[in-house]
Symmetry: C2
Subunit: 324 residues, 2 copies
């Protein structure tokens, strides 16, 4: 590791926000030292990681805002990773939310980082995990991961959270959509936000009925109601999150999730690192004439790729060329 990066790590551990931000940028851009940095900070900190997801317009940001306020009131420090995997055409609200969140900007106990699909090399799920780990190493008590929308990438992102809060609103079809989206499987807590609107009681009952159809799992998923704009229900939500953390600890489920998570993470890092080296290696001409034959169309891309992976020495040469 370069002395500069070592210095950043030292200053980050000493609580310097600027050093944390610089390390985040280094890691998000997948610079050469990324894996070393992540390896160094691994396992540092003991933050509770809470994911918030749900459809656009469910009021997740306002909810996260209120939860943050309450946690700060209880003396906890908070890190927020706000993930926007959506297209620029639907992303307008996020920017506004982030501006609003600047309420917390002057509070040294809160650190907010936004991630978007366009800015992240190597995938949002990975960048989110890395940012979360950095916030943990920075010493935050709670790290909140917030995603807009609920496609496959958001489900992947939520896998890193200890507790997943799924936020819905009293609107027709939401519960069915939530089921289709796989949210029923990942939710540790359901929140019906904007509970002052018509239909809140109905959607709560629907969710509870759907949850009863599932085989019991040790933790009974609560369906809470909140009105984020005026703070109603936030205290019960934070209590619910803490109860779930306690359940993870006492039941051993937290440890089981940790084992699966570490294996996933290892595979993801291995995949990314090999991919990165292959791309660099190929660009550095380690394949000689083969690449020229691909470009000219003399050999088809699939056949050429098979020829490379089936030859151990060629793979080794490409990886070597891409390793530094």
């Amino acid at each position: 590791m370069t002395p500069k990066t070592e210095d950043l790590l030292r200053r980050m551990r000493a609580g310097e926000r600027v050093a944390l931000a610089k390390l985040m940028t280094l890691v998000e851009n997948r610079e050469a030292e990324t894996a070393e940095v992540m390896s160094t900070i691994h396992g540092q900190g003991d933050a509770m990681v809470v994911g918030f997801t749900g459809p656009p317009g469910a009021g997740k940001s306002t909810l996260v805002d209120q939860v943050t306020r309450l946690l700060r009131g209880r003396g906890k420090t908070v890190g927020i990773v706000a993930v926007d995997p959506s297209s620029p055409f639907s992303g307008g609200a996020v920017l506004g939310d982030r501006i609003r969140m600047q309420d917390h900007f002057l509070d040294p106990g809160v650190f907010i980082r936004s991630l978007s699909a366009r800015g992240s090399v190597g995938g949002l799920a990975r960048a989110t995990r890395d940012m979360t780990r950095l916030l943990m190493a920075f010493g935050k008590d709670v790290v909140i991961v917030e995603t807009v929308g609920v496609g496959q990438s958001e489900l992947d992102i939520m896998r890193l959270a200890d507790s997943v809060v799924v936020v819905l609103v009293p609107e027709a079809g939401d519960t069915v959509q939530a089921m289709k989206a796989g949210l029923l499987e990942i939710a540790d807590i359901f929140v019906v936000n904007k509970a002052d609107r018509d239909g809140a009681a109905r959607i709560k009952v629907e969710l509870e009925q759907m949850l009863q159809l599932r085989p019991p799992r040790g933790w009974s998923v609560p369906v809470l109601t909140t009105t984020a704009v005026d703070g109603t229900g936030i205290e019960a939500l934070v209590d619910g999150i803490e109860a779930h953390r306690e359940h993870l600890r006492s039941s051993g489920e937290g440890e089981a999730r940790g084992v699966a998570g570490r294996e996933d993470e290892f595979l993801a890092v291995l995949r990314d690192e090999v991919t990165r080296r292959i791309e660099r290696g190929v660009r550095r001409d380690s394949l000689g004439a083969l690449l020229a034959d691909v470009k000219s169309g003399r050999i088809d891309p699939y056949g050429a790729a098979l020829r490379v992976v089936d030859d151990e020495e060629v793979v080794a040469a490409v990886l070597r060329a891409g390793s530094r």
Copy 2:
């Protein structure tokens, strides 16, 4: 290749739709023979590949529907790959569109395949490219790739098209958003759909002004207007697409795109194939104690991954274990 797959390829080439559908499923699921199948069919067919993208609600599906109808009227066969990378919460319309498209279902000259993020192993861009290649090998004259939304994954998807049609509607902010989304760079043809609404003329002028600010590129991007629901402007759109194809041919730009595309495709296939073998190899215990140490937390995932990639023999052993 197994005799069964060889038989599918033979029947697909003979025009059997069921065989094509089965090969698509095999490839989409990344079954073991995928690379061989794709290598075998590579370069077959001579379809014009046209991409349609733009924000949700722009009427892309109706437009594709009308373009398909017109192409059929001109005696051309059409394949459609309808890609939905969006979350299930915004995906409702797509299903409806696909049902509507069943108009064409009884027409043997049209083949429609839908892809969604949830169903595709190994990425939507790759699955889209593979489905397009299969439709080309099947002998379609035109393959239309339609995506909902315009995030990074959609831009990647559009790179495989010979001609990209960007569809907008007369709504405030659309042109600015289109610029932010990178659509100005990828559009070969702009369409202002729902041109009977207020503001259509204004957005057309705005787009034309923005296009004039760009350095000239040989092809002058037209801004067309359509009203897809009643078919207005469809004929001019199809003529525009054919003119663009002619430009690609005569200017040599088509060949240049082909070279870049083949290199991209080679890298993507190489990456996917190595990744797939690594995952399989790791699951087959080729790492021995290391994986156990990762799971137990004795070694951190990043450090473990670095240890693997930095050791050529270990990488080779993992790839070997995952190769069959």
